[in-house]
Symmetry: C2
Subunit: 304 residues, 2 copies
């Protein structure tokens, strides 16, 4: 049976931000480029707002100064406390989003892992049917794979996208932090501009039809093996390196110890790893995250 069409308000204020993590250069350079070339991101039916989120971290080319800014938010609130620099700017960013009535937020990231182009949903953003429809249309607009990763069920916690409540983190990799890769730069630019086109069409009255969206859901993190003193004893096995999204079966290599021994996946269940060898996970001894895939049926959406 066909689903009824959901009527939703057009979007009025779209934010495109970079530099939530100061060493992820693709988004930083893109936002700077668009600030000097606004025609690329200007559309008739809504206003586009450009911002760099953590200037001191950008200047130092580090992920953060005191705390991970992308772990400071939850459910439209700043939840991090203390005197850290990022707690201060988290409040300013919340204020900026409220003042500008941002109703769709694209936050640009990149990763050292071989994730490819990836749309990340924080818990609130995963509940918006319009948001899911925009992502589904975006996925179909390119001939390279674009995956969707949802933190709706369980969250690493605190994403900046929680404030606007609608939108996504655009992640792309592999690229070392502190560097640029021309192909990923171009891809990130094309995907972001296409989102703006899709929103423009929706605002102009084009209906987003009933369809299905394949979504990876975050399940848990996998830590590196440790010895009795809590010291990490191994690294990602060469066989697993770059194999994000490829199911791992019992007996497949996961880690290589610093002495050269291979550690296998010993669980009976298949696991799907991603963010393998993401640099920022190292400080938490996280080797990769484990996801599972599911398909979500999307209700048609039209502007009211």
């Amino acid at each position: 049976m066909a689903q009824s069409t959901l009527k939703t308000k057009p979007l009025s204020n779209v934010a495109i931000t970079g530099g939530t993590h100061g060493n992820e250069l693709v988004g930083i350079r893109l936002v700077r480029h668009w600030k000097s070339n606004t025609s690329h991101v200007t559309r008739q039916s809504f206003k586009t707002h450009l911002a760099l989120n953590n200037i001191p971290a950008i200047e130092k080319c580090v992920r953060y100064i005191d705390n991970d800014l992308n772990r400071c938010f939850s459910n439209k609130e700043v939840v991090a406390t203390g005197n850290g620099y990022e707690v201060k700017i988290a409040h300013e960013i919340k204020e900026w989003i409220a003042t500008n009535n941002i109703d769709f937020h694209v936050d640009l990231h990149n990763t050292t892992a071989n994730t490819g182009a990836l749309l990340i949903l924080t818990p609130t953003a995963a509940q918006s049917m319009l948001n899911l429809q925009i992502l589904a249309k975006l996925r179909c607009s390119f001939n390279f794979p674009i995956r969707v990763l949802s933190f709706a069920g369980k969250s690493l916690g605190g994403g900046i996208l929680e404030i606007a409540g609608c939108g996504f983190g655009f992640e792309n990799g592999p690229v070392p932090h502190g560097t640029l890769k021309a192909d990923l730069f171009k891809q990130t630019s094309n995907v972001t501009c296409k989102v703006l086109d899709i929103i423009e069409e929706f605002n102009q009255g084009v209906q987003l039809d009933e369809q299905e969206l394949e979504v990876y859901e975050f399940e848990r993190v996998m830590f590196f093996p440790k010895d009795g003193n809590g010291n990490v004893t191994a690294m990602i096995h060469g066989h697993l390196e770059g194999k994000d999204w490829v199911p791992v079966q019992k007996g497949d290599p996961l880690f290589m110890t610093f002495s050269g021994e291979t550690i296998l996946h010993e669980g009976d269940e298949e696991i799907i790893p991603t963010f393998i060898n993401e640099a920022s996970y190292m400080e938490k001894d996280v080797a990769f995250i484990i996801v599972h895939n599911t398909t979500v049926k999307l209700q048609p959406v039209q502007k009211c």
Copy 2:
């Protein structure tokens, strides 16, 4: 005509250090591993000394705290001045090397560039015939390419290896800073252990025969293109990405501007680029370095 044999004292104290740059994890984890497993680096005829050079930078997983430690030295002296943290530890490292009579120093690095395994010579180290002979023998010991890059003529300046005066920086890439790659880890381990074997053989009386050594010599740095305000306007072109050591001819792509235009190599002369897209060069707007290759005839060396 055969060259006369140079008689050189055996080596007594070999230093293997990591963490000169705190975000280059391969050397850091290897040195830690060997500190707990000293048998891998212990040889009969000399003492092996293990050290991590910049602990606070390692703890923060950043290249340096105040200054690049590997630009603080010259000609057996600490030349950097000021109150920066690295200036302080540069003096301590110089003292440590002197106190332990280090006569051969291997400093472990890694890079985001696709350099492969690379032996780096600072000006003083490039003058030691024993050193060049050890490098030549090392190159022949593996079935993967190991290149030699000399800063003898012109220097980026200040390498830590200037103090011991003999030895080399072992560079390996590509690997994002703040991460490990199992294959590069193993390669770095094998090459370092092989150096110790070669020194052991030399100390036991094995002559290092007359031979030739292919050396790349540093020529100059290539900056990213900039606009009239001094802002970088481009990134490494996808065609050049990962093509370290591959000669670039007139008309080959070098850069892609943030607007998507290709910038070609317009010079008539062929250039050989390396350290393409090394993350730490970004703060200086350096895109890559340009080298040329030459062949050095090596005199036979035997211990006296």
